[in-house]
């Protein structure tokens, strides 16, 4: 499968030649990217996660924002909301315990959907990075090679492209290209970075090699938990064997700190029992200097 897709890839992306231009135009007429992304969160979102959500809204011009969702259990409501708003995909920020952020990426209404744990969050506001780019300019997306190699990553790549690629003639987008969204895979996680493309201004024709990047932000890292067949539910297609929930991590840390005291107590009682069950043997010389009667 991976190979097949890759072949089509290279065929498609061999670079448009002037002779193919007409064909491309025709294709463009045939295909229209009508993706629209719904962005919403649950109630109880904290400021940092809210800021991250706002950054996402700034980066995705073809998005619709909706008010906070009241329920955490019935996620089908999200499908309904997306339907009402006419959206084809959803970015759903689910906050648990006011500390853990889970991000759902879903295609509605028929799926698939992916649930991530979001780690290492740094919002645009708190990162004092000097890069900046136009709001609504179309991003160049770049993916790590690993995205073509494993089936679940292929699926993730498709989802990410459909969500983050701005439709070409979208009314809110600006017809320039000045930033790059980088998706990379490391440590089993998807890392997100946003860079501004800086080119020297003095020349008319830009040499590609003279371009450089300045990071804009935000930064975060998506740890995939599960991939579902449907939108916010359905059969599980993928499950991350290495995923440890933050609750389990916290509990383990707590247990480890509690262990110290319980170990001491156990040791103390064990010592007492040992001493009680092994009395000192009576020595022959014990009553040598004891004054005997008479």
């Amino acid at each position: 499968m991976a190979k097949k897709r890759k072949q089509t890839d290279t065929e498609e992306r061999s670079g448009p030649q002037p002779s193919q231009k007409e064909q491309a135009v025709e294709d463009a007429h045939a295909f229209k990217n009508k993706e629209k992304v719904l962005i919403l969160s649950t109630r109880g979102i904290t400021f940092r996660y809210r800021h991250l959500m706002n950054d996402m809204i700034d980066l995705i011009p073809h998005c619709k924002k909706d008010s906070k969702l009241d329920t955490k259990n019935d996620r089908n409501v999200v499908n309904e909301v997306a339907d009402m708003k006419g959206c084809t995909s959803v970015l759903f920020f689910e906050v648990r315990k006011k500390m853990d952020l889970y991000l759902w990426m879903a295609k509605t209404p028929s799926g698939p959907s992916v649930k991530f744990l979001v780690e290492n969050i740094h919002t645009m506001a708190e990162l004092k990075l000097s890069g900046n780019h136009l709001k609504g300019s179309r991003p160049v997306l770049t993916f790590h090679k690993a995205f073509d190699e494993q089936p679940h990553l292929q699926l993730l790549k498709e989802l990410l492209i459909q969500i983050y690629a701005t439709p070409k003639r979208h009314h809110k987008c600006k017809p320039f290209c000045d930033h790059v969204l980088a998706f990379s895979v490391a440590d089993g996680r998807v890392w997100f970075r946003n860079y501004q493309v800086v080119v020297p201004l003095d020349k008319k024709k830009v040499n590609p090699d003279s371009a450089s990047l300045v990071e804009v932000g935000p930064r975060f890292c998506l740890n995939p938990i599960k991939v579902f067949e449907g939108s916010f539910g359905g059969r599980t297609l993928y499950e991350n064997a290495n995923y440890v929930s933050p609750n389990a991590l916290r509990a383990a840390a707590k247990r480890a700190s509690a262990q110290k005291y319980s170990d001491t107590v156990r040791q103390r009682t064990a010592r007492k029992e040992h001493v009680a069950s092994h009395p000192m043997p009576r020595s022959d010389l014990e009553d040598l200097f004891v004054k005997k009667d008479g």
């Binding site: 890839d9 498609e12 992306r13 448009p16 491309a24 294709d27 295909f31 990217n33 980066l59 295609k107 028929s110 645009m124 506001a125 900046n132 136009l134 709001k135 609504g136 300019s137 179309r138 991003p139 160049v140 997306l141 770049t142 993916f143 790590h144 090679k145 995205f147 494993q150 089936p151 292929q154 699926l155 498709e158 492209i161 459909q162 690629a165 070409k168 320039f176 290209c177 790059v180 980088a182 990379s184 490391a186 440590d187 089993g188 970075r193 860079y195 080119v199 830009v206 590609p208 371009a211 450089s212 990047l213 991939v227 067949e229 059969r235 599980t236 297609l237 064997a241 440890v244 480890a256």
Partner: protein, 323 residues
């Protein structure tokens, strides 16, 4: 459970699961093997301490491919629609905690993508560069950028200040050294002066204080005569008191000769081999009762039979008195 231990377990599990995947991708239909591997994965992660239920992690490849076929359109459209690129270099970030290496890898990926994108835009003659006079809303507001600028300025300023402080500290150390050198020189000059005056006085003493004292003349004469101060001699004099020519205070000299002056203090009263063998101070007990030896018996010399003046007895005294 340590974080490192967890990570190590995770890594081990990941490697195993990737092996499993690669096998499946290669098309081996041996379900037993993959199941075994999956179980191993789970036990490995179980040892690491994360309490997952003991069952195989779900990896439904066929369904995923099917789903991808259903929803996928990104590969079938011209590149301009998505602007999505795949990085050719399959780099691996070895240690994700190493910020520099990780960010550099991401940067390189993004840079390669940007350059490739520019090439493709140029090839298809699509305008992509924002004209310099095109102003529009940016992702970060002007206030935010002002803050960023302030932060940058602050960082630069703090670096400069640190540099300044460092320079000042060095300057201070240097000037301290210079000052010490100067003081030393001044002390030497003063010593020399005093010495020359002493010399002059001694000379006049030798000549019996003849003639009128013409200080300036004498001094210049001395200067001419002996340019070399007698440093070595002086040091010797200090070590052997009493012999010093400079010492005119006789009681002082006497005391110095008696008690010593300068030199090593400790062990000065301790016996040496010579002093222990020296019997010169030993005197046998005197029988004549004159003087008497030193020691506790001084007052009651036991062997004395006839003291020189003995008081007569009572009767004798009475007789004498009657006489």
């Amino acid at each position: 459970m340590g974080n490192k231990a967890r990570k190590a377990a995770d890594k081990a599990a990941m490697q195993q699961s990737s092996e499993e995947e690669s096998e499946e991708v290669m098309g081996s239909d041996d379900e037993g093997v993959s199941e075994e591997l999956g179980l191993q994965t789970l036990t490995a992660s179980g040892k690491g301490g994360n309490r997952r239920p003991l069952r195989e992690a779900i990896y439904d490849m066929d369904a995923m491919h099917e789903k991808l076929e259903d929803i996928g359109w990104a590969d079938n459209v011209p590149w301009e629609e998505t602007l999505a690129l795949t990085h050719e270099d399959p780099y691996e970030v070895e240690n994700v905690d190493d910020d520099m290496a990780r960010e550099l890898a991401f940067y390189n990926q993004a840079l390669a993508a940007a350059q490739e994108a520019i090439r493709r835009f140029d090839a298809s003659q699509t305008p992509w560069l924002r004209p310099p006079d095109y102003y529009a809303e940016m992702v970060k507001s002007d206030q935010h950028m002002a803050k960023v600028k302030e932060q940058l300025m602050f960082e630069q300023r703090s670096i400069e200040q640190a540099e300044e402080r460092r320079k000042q500290r060095e300057q201070k150390q240097y000037s301290k050294q210079v000052q010490a050198e100067k003081q030393k020189e001044r002390n030497a000059a003063k010593k020399k002066q005093i010495e020359s005056v002493t010399n002059m006085r001694k000379q006049r003493e030798k000549s019996g204080f003849a003639g009128e004292l013409d200080y300036d003349k004498e001094m210049s004469a001395l200067e001419r005569k002996g340019r070399q101060p007698k440093q070595q001699g002086k040091a010797k004099d200090r070590m052997q008191p009493g012999k010093s020519k400079a010492l005119t205070n006789k009681p002082r000299a006497a005391k110095d000769a008696k008690y010593g002056f300068g030199g090593k203090k400790s062990l000065s009263k301790q016996n040496t081999a010579d002093s222990a063998a020296n019997m010169s101070s030993f005197r046998s007990q005197k029988r004549d009762g004159k003087g008497g030896g030193k020691g506790p018996k001084k007052g009651k010399p036991g062997g004395v039979k006839k003291p020189a003046m003995k008081r007569p007895g009572k009767a004798a005294r009475a007789k004498k008195g009657k006489k």
